[in-house]
């Protein structure tokens, strides 16, 4: 960037001339001499331009993959690689938007002669996600501070924070998916609980399925067939449009972050149940992981929940073409899939989504983090509107878990009690 005048010394010549003029008119040689200092400064402010910050910067993280809630140190090493003395150098690091600096500002003011090096250290508290530092802002001034120049320096550093999935986090999440859809009993004999049929023993059949009563009676080996249960197919859908990034407290955890937390808990609970679970987002940067089970799938989902841009911890730019998105989503959605839809419901869009999914015959369960407050008049209106939306959903036969400050299983338990009434 070009340098510009800070106008810091504006008026110094005028003031000096005034003092000197009074000195001349009153023949006070002292004042005229004092004016020399003023003239000296006036000349000093014209000396030199703000230098271009020709520096090399290295950014080092204390831990490149910390756990959520931990802190990590960031160390900047700044070296003047140019030939000019940067007498007034101010460095401001571009901390990623979702991270918060908790110790020391991410800034340093220094003065570097050619070849000199300095370091700056600060600490950030880490939340889930892939966080990238891109640029630093460098501000240089000439010694008098009359001119200033900004230089942007690109240094890319990435921190990945992948929260672990708690396997079988809570059994009380059972009620979320239903035994009546997806988890259907089939007419296929095999493993299971309910008796289906018997057949002749084939070598390799497990011992616990041999009909021992029959063996005792007749002496022949036969194998029991049980009615096979098919696992439920569930898609966990997160509303991560710009509108969904709301929070009761400005720098608190927002609705999307809480939705992702909910998805992580539900995912691990369902997957350990043997269900097939997939992940999707309603967002401009779409995320789609088809429902599956298994360790590889779990690892893939864990990675996506942590770092997928569609689930970023702070709002990203981009517009969502809702109809296009919905059509693509419904095409991909397996016919028997249930949908668990996480959204704060702060606008009407998610209502249409939920209702249309319901109309297509999918069982829809809404989990809605409540970010409304009664702090301001607008928030009160928003709270009523949301209450009305949830009632509309319930009126449409969609199951709603209204999730306030309590732990998710508590909210789910309260909601399932209501459904079973």
């Amino acid at each position: 960037m070009r340098s510009f005048a800070t106008k810091r010394w504006a008026g110094i010549e005028g003031l000096t001339l005034l003092v000197v003029a009074i000195g001349v008119l009153t023949t006070s040689s002292g004042l005229i001499l004092a004016g020399i200092i003023g003239f000296g400064y006036a000349a000093y402010t014209k000396l030199w331009d703000a230098p271009v910050a020709d520096v090399s910067i290295d950014r080092e993280l204390g831990d490149e993959a910390p756990a959520p809630g931990e802190t990590t140190g960031v160390t900047l090493t700044i070296t003047n690689t140019g030939s000019k003395w940067l007498s007034d150098l101010r460095v401001i690091d571009g901390v990623p938007p979702a991270l918060e600096t908790i110790d020391g500002p991410a800034r340093i003011g220094t003065s570097l002669r050619p070849g000199e090096t300095t370091t700056c250290h600060y600490t950030v508290s880490v939340v889930r996600g892939k966080h990238t530092w891109d640029s630093l802002r460098l501000i240089t001034r000439n010694p008098s501070g009359s001119r200033e120049r900004e230089t942007v320096c690109e240094v890319s550093t990435t921190l990945r924070c992948t929260p672990p999935l708690h396997a079988g986090a809570n059994l009380s999440l059972h009620g979320l998916t239903t035994p009546y859809s997806g988890r259907v009993t089939t007419d296929v004999g095999g493993y299971g609980i309910e008796f289906h049929s018997t057949r002749a023993y084939r070598s390799g059949d497990p011992l616990n399925r041999i009909d021992w009563n029959r063996r005792a009676r007749t002496g022949t080996l036969s194998t029991l067939n049980f009615r096979e249960e098919r696992a439920a197919t569930v898609i966990l859908l997160v509303d991560s449009r710009k509108e969904a990034y709301v929070a009761a407290e400005p720098t608190g955890r927002n609705a999307v972050e809480r939705s992702v937390d909910a998805v992580a808990t539900i995912f691990s609970s369902l997957i350990s149940n043997g269900d097939r679970v997939g992940i999707a987002t309603m967002s401009p940067t779409e995320c789609w992981i088809a429902p599956q089970s298994g360790k590889t799938h779990t690892a893939r989902v864990q990675e996506a929940l942590a770092t997928h841009p569609g689930l970023a911890p702070t709002a990203t730019e981009g517009t969502l073409y809702h109809t296009l998105w919905f059509n693509r989503f419904i095409r991909r959605l397996p016919a028997d899939a249930q949908v668990v839809f996480c959204s704060p419901f702060v606008d009407d869009r998610p209502i249409y989504t939920a209702r249309r999914l319901h109309a297509y015959g999918h069982l829809v369960t809404v989990i809605t983090p409540d970010e409304t407050t009664a702090d301001t008049i607008g928030d009160r209106i928003a709270a009523i509107e949301r209450q009305h939306r949830l009632q509309t959903l319930r009126g449409n036969g969609i199951r709603v878990v209204d999730w306030g400050d309590e732990p998710l299983p508590t909210a789910v338990m309260a909601a399932t009690q209501r459904w079973s009434q």
């Binding site: 810091r8 003031l15 001339l17 003092v19 000197v20 009074i22 001349v24 009153t26 023949t27 006070s28 040689s29 002292g30 004042l31 005229i32 001499l33 004092a34 004016g35 020399i36 200092i37 003023g38 003239f39 000296g40 400064y41 006036a42 000093y44 959520p68 809630g69 007498s87 007034d88 101010r90 918060e100 908790i102 020391g104 500002p105 800034r107 340093i108 003011g109 220094t110 003065s111 300095t118 889930r128 010694p143 501070g145 708690h166 986090a169 809570n170 400005p250 720098t251 608190g252 955890r253 992702v260 937390d261 909910a262 992580a264 808990t265 400050d405 309590e406 732990p407 998710l408 299983p409």
Partner: protein, 177 residues
């Protein structure tokens, strides 16, 4: 990420502390007081006004008000002019002027550093280098001024000075364009 803990994290509302840089603030306050003290040698009236200027500077630096620091410096300038008009000798006037301009420069930088980098950032080296530059300019110009006074002790100082000033006024007029 588990649902067991409270779902909303704690929030930290603190922005960075934008109070002026400490070392420079103290230096500026000290220098503004020193200007008043030096002026005692020239004129008591001037010293009194300068003391008010120092007070304004102190309060403004403490509260981080750029305009207040300028007002304090203008007050001290007024005090110097008053002392000069009342016939104060050149030495205390030169001293007070040097202190006043240094107080303004360093005080204003302290506020500026506080605003751009924050009170808690590491700015010691920046402040030291800036102050050193200002001190160098002040002492050099004050020395030149005093040297002229001593050299011209018995000649026609006014004639020479007025020519010098005329030249300075012309050059400033040219440069400002």
């Amino acid at each position: 990420m588990s649902g067991e803990t409270t779902s909303r994290g704690q929030t930290r509302q603190e922005t960075i502390n934008r109070k002026p840089a400490a070392a420079s603030s103290y230096a500026a306050i000290f220098l503004s007081l020193l200007a008043a003290a030096v002026l005692v040698l020239g004129s008591l009236v001037g010293a009194t006004i300068a003391a008010v200027g120092a007070l304004i500077t102190t309060v403004s630096v403490y509260r981080g008000r750029q305009k207040g620091v300028t007002l304090g410096a203008l007050m001290t300038t007024g005090a110097i002019v008053a002392a000069g008009v009342l016939g104060a000798p050149p030495a205390p006037l030169l001293g007070a002027t040097g202190c006043a301009i240094l107080a303004w420069d360093i005080g204003s930088s302290a506020i500026d550093i506080g605003q751009t980098l924050g009170h808690n950032a590491d700015t010691a080296r920046l402040e030291a280098v800036r102050a050193a530059f200002s001190l160098f300019v002040t002492s050099t110009t004050a020395t030149v001024g005093y040297a002229i006074y001593v050299l011209a002790g018995d000649g026609q100082p006014m004639t020479a000075l007025v020519l010098l000033i005329l030249g300075a006024v012309i050059i400033i007029a040219v440069y400002r364009q």
